[in-house]
C-alpha cells in the first residue's frame, strides 16, 4: 500500500505508539484486500456497531481505554447501535438479575467511554441512524467508516454512499485517523453486480423473506434485482425506503450483502442501469415457491415447537415513523375485526429514540398505547442474547433477529393475526 507522508509518519510512530497501532491495523486490513491506498472519510458522522456494555466484551473496552489513555479520539462525532436494555420492556425477576448483575454490567462504563470518544448525543443509539429524525444521513458518494450491517447496506444501496462492511472497532479506527483503505465497495468495480435476481412472484414479496433468500444465495456478492419495482414502485418514498431497510437487513444478516441495486429505484441503478451488471453474472429467479421453500427451511428451536407465542418483537432494524403509524392502523383494524381491545401477545415495537419522540407528538402514539403495544428504543437482539430467552416462545418479523436468536420468524401478516387474537396461531 502506498501511504502519504502524513500517513507514513503516523505508522512510524511520530504521533505516538497507540496511533501507530491504529494505523497499522488499517494498513493490514487494507493489505488483506490488496488496497493500494487509504482515502479520506468524507461523511459528517460515523456510525459504530458496538453499543452494549457486555461483561464478556471486556477486551473491547480495554482497547477503547487504551485509545482514551493515549489521548486519541474520533475525528468525527458518531451514532451507535441501540442500547440493550429498557425498563419498559417486559422482563421477569430472573431476567432482571441476569441482565443487570451479570450481562450488561459494563453499560454505564462503556457509554462513558463512547461519550469521551465522540458520541453525537445521549439519544444517538439506533441501528437506523440514517432516519431524518436521527440526523446521521450521508450524501451520495460520501466515503464512510461505518459498521452495523443493516446500516452499511442501506447507506450503500439506498443513499449511494460508499462503505465496506467494516467490523466493530475497525469503524472507530477509521475516524480516528480519518482514512479508510480503498477496496471493495469503495471502488466502481466493487460496486458492480455479480448476480442478477429476477423477482417473479405473484404478490408483493415480504421484504425480510426476499432479503433472506437473496442473502443466503449470493452471500457477500452484489445483486442487481429486477422486477421488484413492480411491487414497491420507482420512487424512494417513505414506504419504499422502509421496505428496503428491512430487505437489506435480511440480505446482510442471512448472507453478507453490503450493497444491492434495485432496477429503476436505487440511485446507482437509476443512473447506470444494467451497465452495473458485471460480465458473467449469475442468475437467481425468485417466485412464490422459492420464498415458501426458504421460509419452510428455517429451523424452529423452541423447546416446544407448538407453544403459543409469549412475546413479539417488531423493529429489527428499528421501525420508521411511517411504519409505526401503519402498524397502529393495522392493529386497530385487526383488533376490531377480532372483537378484541388489546393485543393478546406481549408485543414490543422498537425504534430510534428520536423517531419515538417524533411518534409521541402524533395522535398515533396514544392509539398504539391503547392497543397494549409497548414501544422501546432497545436492540431486541441484545435483549434475547441469553439462555433465558431460549426457553421463551418469541416471534418476530425480523429475519435478522431470527438468525441470531431462538426467535421464530413470522411474516408481518402472520404477526398481525397472531398478536390480535386471530384464530390461526
Amino acid at each position: 500500500m502506498i501511504l502519504t507522508k502524513e500517513q507514513q509518519a503516523i505508522l512510524d510512530g511520530e504521533k505516538g505508539e497507540t496511533l501507530a497501532k491504529v494505523m497499522k491495523t488499517l494498513v493490514m486490513y487494507g493489505d488483506a484486500f490488496e488496497a493500494e491506498k487509504l482515502v479520506p472519510i468524507t461523511s459528517k458522522y460515523n456510525h459504530l456497531v458496538t453499543s452494549f456494555g457486555l461483561k464478556v466484551m471486556s477486551p473491547v473496552y480495554d482497547l477503547m481505554q487504551q485509545l482514551l489513555d493515549a489521548g486519541v479520539t474520533s475525528g468525527q462525532k458518531f451514532s451507535v447501535d441501540p442500547r440493550p436494555l429498557d425498563k419498559n420492556v417486559p422482563e421477569n425477576l430472573l431476567q432482571n438479575l441476569v441482565f443487570n448483575k451479570f450481562m450488561y454490567t459494563k453499560q454505564s462504563f462503556y457509554e462513558d467511554q463512547l461519550e469521551k470518544l465522540g458520541l453525537m448525543d445521549q439519544n444517538a443509539f439506533t441501528c437506523t441512524c440514517y432516519m431524518d429524525e436521527v440526523g446521521n444521513r450521508p450524501q451520495k458518494g460520501d466515503v464512510l467508516s461505518w459498521a452495523e450491517s443493516s446500516a452499511v447496506v442501506y447507506a450503500n444501496s439506498v443513499l449511494g454512499a460508499r462503505c465496506n462492511r467494516n467490523s466493530g472497532i475497525i469503524d472507530i479506527m477509521g475516524s480516528i485517523v480519518g482514512y479508510v483503505p480503498y477496496f471493495g465497495l469503495l471502488t466502481d468495480e466493487g460496486r458492480k453486480a455479480t448476480w442478477v435476481v429476477k423477482v417473479q412472484t405473484t404478490k408483493k414479496p415480504e421484504a425480510q423473506l426476499l432479503g433472506s433468500a437473496i442473502g443466503m444465495k449470493v452471500m457477500e456478492d452484489v445483486p442487481y434485482v429486477i422486477g421488484l419495482d413492480r411491487w414497491i414502485g420507482d420512487e424512494l418514498n417513505d414506504s419504499a425506503c422502509a421496505y428496503l431497510k428491512d430487505f437489506g437487513a435480511a440480505t446482510a444478516s442471512n448472507g453478507a450483502v453490503g450493497l444491492y441495486h434495485i432496477a429503476n429505484l436505487t440511485p446507482e441503478a437509476v443512473e447506470l442501469g444494467e451497465s452495473l451488471i458485471a460480465e458473467g453474472a449469475r442468475e437467481y429467479i425468485i417466485d412464490d415457491a422459492e420464498l415458501e421453500r426458504v421460509q419452510n427451511n428455517y429451523p424452529v428451536i423452541w423447546k416446544d415447537p407448538n407453544a403459543s407465542p409469549k412475546l413479539c418483537f417488531v423493529g429489527c432494524p428499528h421501525l420508521s415513523l411511517e411504519q409505526l403509524k401503519t402498524w397502529t392502523e393495522n392493529i386497530e383494524a385487526e383488533l376490531k375485526k377480532n372483537g378484541k381491545k388489546q393485543v393478546t401477545v406481549k408485543t414490543v415495537f422498537t425504534a430510534a429514540p428520536a423517531v419515538l419522540a417524533a411518534f409521541e407528538k402524533t395522535e398515533y402514539a396514544a392509539r398504539l398505547k391503547a392497543t397494549g403495544v409497548i414501544t422501546s428504543y432497545i436492540c431486541p437482539l441484545m435483549y434475547m442474547n441469553n439462555p433465558l430467552c431460549k426457553k421463551m416462545p418469541v416471534i418476530t418479523s425480523s429475519n435478522k433477529l431470527r438468525t441470531y436468536t431462538s426467535a421464530r420468524y413470522y411474516t408481518d401478516a402472520q404477526i398481525l393475526k397472531t398478536i390480535t387474537g386471530g384464530k390461526d396461531q
Binding site: M28, P59, S167, G168, I169, E220, A256, T403
Partner: protein
C-alpha cells in the same frame, strides 16, 4: 495426505483437528453464547448452520468459505482471541471477507501471546476434500496439509 496452497493473512504455524462448514460462518451467531456464558468447549451456537451447530470450535482448524452476518463479527473474533477461546486457525476456501479480516488483524496487532494463523484463497477443492476430524497442518508460507 494432500497439500493446498493459500495466501497468508496473518502468519503462524499450527496442527489441529478440522471442523468444516461449506456454508458461510456467522461469527456472532456461532460464538456469542459460548463466549458470554463461559462454554469451555466454545460450541457453535448458530442454529442455521447445520454442519457446525453444537460442535466445539476451541483449538480446531476451522475450515470455511467465508464469514457472514453482523459487523460485530470482527470484534467477536478479537474477543475470542483475547480470551483464548479461538479456533487454532481459520482456513478460507474463498478470499477472506472484511469482517474475518478485521478480526484476524485486530487479534494480530492488539492481542499479545495469541497466534491464530489465517490463510485464505485455498480453493473450492480444499473444502471438498477436508472433513471433520482430519488433521490439518498450517505452514508459515500458507501451505495447508490435510490428512
Amino acid at each position: 495426505m494432500k497439500q493446498f496452497k493459500g495466501r497468508v493473512v496473518t502468519p503462524g504455524e499450527v496442527t489441529a483437528e478440522a471442523v468444516v462448514t461449506k456454508e458461510g460462518f456467522n461469527t456472532l451467531a456461532s460464538l456469542q453464547m459460548a463466549l458470554q456464558f463461559g462454554d469451555k468447549e466454545v460450541k457453535c451456537g448458530d442454529q442455521s448452520n447445520k454442519e457446525l451447530y453444537g460442535k466445539s470450535l476451541l483449538g480446531k482448524a476451522l475450515c470455511l468459505p467465508q464469514t457472514i452476518g453482523s459487523t460485530t463479527g470482527g470484534l467477536v473474533l478479537y474477543c475470542a482471541c483475547s480470551m483464548k477461546k479461538n479456533p487454532a486457525c481459520m482456513l478460507f476456501a474463498n478470499h477472506i471477507d472484511s469482517l474475518a479480516a478485521a478480526g484476524a488483524v485486530l487479534a494480530d496487532v492488539w492481542v499479545d501471546g495469541v497466534t491464530m494463523p489465517v490463510v485464505d484463497s485455498l480453493g473450492e477443492e480444499f473444502l471438498n476434500y477436508v472433513k471433520d476430524g482430519m488433521t490439518v497442518t498450517v505452514k508459515a508460507d500458507g501451505t495447508v496439509e490435510v490428512e
